[in-house]
């Protein structure tokens, strides 16, 4: 709100329903360039659905998305990727039968130029491209300290490592906006700290704008610059972490609506 520049992402009056059940109703908020914006709220509040809209997996019933000044009613998944929107998934959606390096390189797919024939015949352009991709992938793997796992099949790795691979895959194509759906879910506290630090570093060093969903509010409040609270698909609060913590509505959403009455 205080940033003078135009927002990197603007969600405007988005609504979405599944078979008549409202998942998101008339949601609007802005994400400033290079900030970490956290979406929080109870289960079923519509957070993942929102990320899916930003990525083009779902089509909103109404409303629009403004990304870097361009207006979209519906985003196509490939279009989103091409415009530099990266994504990490809730229940880690890695390609389980592929090696770590191949998973990461798959994130570079849209930069591939060599034709099928060039690849099949190992012609120079295909070889050069393969080398370039591999180098880029290793660069990113190094960032996450994953190099030693590069040739391991993903399914054989512990969950915490898999989550890191997913992050690596999401950023390998150098996105400008990164969407993360519960990147810390299912981890122990040491792992959580590590991933949180990586996210902060990506934001700081790579100047990445990040929108993330997270339930560990303690970490969210430390990590995020900006918090949007959702409940029943509506926006409950929107502001800096400090203002969120003390917002009575937020406390009620998390701890129950009858706090006052019970205490009395």
């Amino acid at each position: 709100m205080t940033t003078p520049s135009a927002p990197a992402l603007e969600v405007k009056n988005i609504s979405l329903a599944f078979k008549g059940v409202k998942a998101i109703s008339d949601l609007s908020f802005e994400v400033a360039p290079q900030e970490i914006c956290a979406l929080i709220g109870p289960n079923g509040a519509g957070k993942s659905s929102l990320l899916n809209i930003l990525n083009g997996v779902y089509v909103p019933d109404s409303g629009e998305i403004i990304f870097e000044g361009e207006h979209f009613h519906r985003m196509q998944p490939l279009e989103a990727a091409r415009r530099g929107i990266g994504r990490g998934f809730q229940n880690n959606a890695l390609f389980s039968g592929m090696s770590v390096a191949d998973n990461v390189i798959a994130g570079l797919s849209r930069h591939a130029r060599a034709t099928l024939l060039e690849e099949a015949l190992l012609l120079p352009r295909a070889r050069a491209e393969a080398r370039r991709f591999r180098e880029r992938a290793h660069e990113v793997l190094r960032l996450f300290d994953l190099e030693r796992h590069a040739e391991t099949t993903v399914a054989l790795l512990p969950y915490g490592v898999q989550k890191k691979v997913e992050l690596a895959r999401a950023i390998v194509a150098a996105p400008r906006l990164l969407l993360l759906d519960e990147p810390l879910a299912g981890m122990n506290s040491a792992e959580k700290q590590e991933i949180a630090q990586i996210i902060a570093r990506l934001n700081r060093d790579l100047k990445l704008t990040i929108v993330l969903i997270e339930h560990d509010i303690g970490i969210v409040l430390k990590l995020a610059h900006h918090v949007v609270v959702l409940d029943y698909g509506r926006k409950l609060a929107d502001g800096a972490p400090d203002t969120i913590r003390d917002n009575p509505e937020v406390i009620a959403a998390y701890l129950g609506h009858d706090k006052v009455e019970i205490a009395a």
């Binding site: 599944f18 078979k19 993942s48 899916n52 997996v57 998934f89 809730q90 959606a93």
Partner: protein, 293 residues
């Protein structure tokens, strides 16, 4: 005009047979999420068992009873040896498993009971009846009536009995069914038995028409477009789909076939199904799935 009506009615009546086969698929798919490619082989197996028994001089009713018991045992075996170990696996894997199952059932049926064509006489005369000027096959009419009775019986079972309610519950939500004490494995065994019985009826009707032989198992290939058109999860869809395929197939053979040199029935239903897929991927009665990531 008469020719058109005759073709249409003949096609619709033949379509009831397709429906009958497709219903067996729907039952299994709804209750256990398996696309049962072996349904055709089960149909062959059921009909062959019955014919082998009656050929040996076993009275018809006793033969029926024995066949039913055999089908129930097979269903228990399938649930124990295939469905249970493969629980939670992808639909593709389950599909391929039923391909394997089809081979086992076919091999066993023909290995034990021979692969020559067996005549089956159900005592239905196949003399044409005339409705005004329109000629209708009496056999087709009887078959359609039997199919109708079966569908009514099934819908009574599903809607009016305790078992039926439980069956539908399992089809809706397996976990919830487990949580309130429904024995899902037993339900699967029952559903596969019922699907076997539906297969038996269909097998006897088809068998009476073209003899009980290996080609019976190929009706699975007829049911597939029916399911695509009607949707995999709806018995009503299976019936309508069967009628649509039966009618359009016979109309197409009569009116389009001559321009293409004839014999287009084997693939026409597939072309129709593909066209449907592009317009309505979930079929006429199916439900669209929402994917979560």
């Amino acid at each position: 005009m008469n020719m058109f009506l005759e073709t249409l009615i003949g096609g619709l009546l033949a379509g009831t047979m397709y429906s009958l086969v497709a219903i067996g698929f729907v039952l299994i798919y709804k209750a256990s999420g398996v696309f049962n490619y072996a349904q055709g082989s089960i149909l062959l197996f059921a009909a062959l068992t019955f014919v082998s028994l009656t050929d040996q001089g076993v009275p018809v009713l006793v033969a029926l009873a024995i066949t039913v018991v055999v089908l129930a045992l097979m269903a228990v075996g399938i649930e124990r040896l295939i469905l249970r170990p493969l629980v939670n696996r992808s639909p593709m894997t389950l599909f391929m498993a039923t391909l394997g199952l089809a081979y086992i059932v076919e091999g066993t049926a023909q290995g034990l009971m021979g692969s020559q064509v067996r005549a089956l006489d159900l005592g239905i005369e196949d003399l044409p009846i005339f409705l005004g000027d329109i000629m209708i096959s009496q056999f087709d009419l009887t078959a359609a009536a039997v199919a109708l009775v079966l569908v009514v019986a099934l819908s009574l079972l599903f809607n009016k009995t305790r078992l039926g309610v439980e069956l539908r519950g399992v089809a809706d939500d397996t976990r919830a069914a487990l949580s309130i004490g429904i024995d899902v494995n037993r339900i699967w065994q029952i559903v596969w038995t019922i699907a076997g019985l539906v297969g038996l009826v269909a097998g006897l009707l088809w068998g009476a028409r073209q003899g009980v032989q290996f080609s019976l198992s190929l009706v699975v290939l007829k049911a597939l477009p029916v399911l695509i058109i009607g949707g995999f999860t709806s018995i009503a869809g299976a019936i309508v789909g069967g009628l649509v395929v039966g009618a359009t197939e016979s109309l197409a053979e009569t009116y389009i076939g001559p321009f293409l040199g004839g014999g287009i029935t084997p693939w026409f239903a597939y072309a129709l199904a593909l066209a449907f897929l592009f317009i309505r991927p979930a079929g006429l009665f199916g439900e669209q799935k929402i994917e979560r990531v």
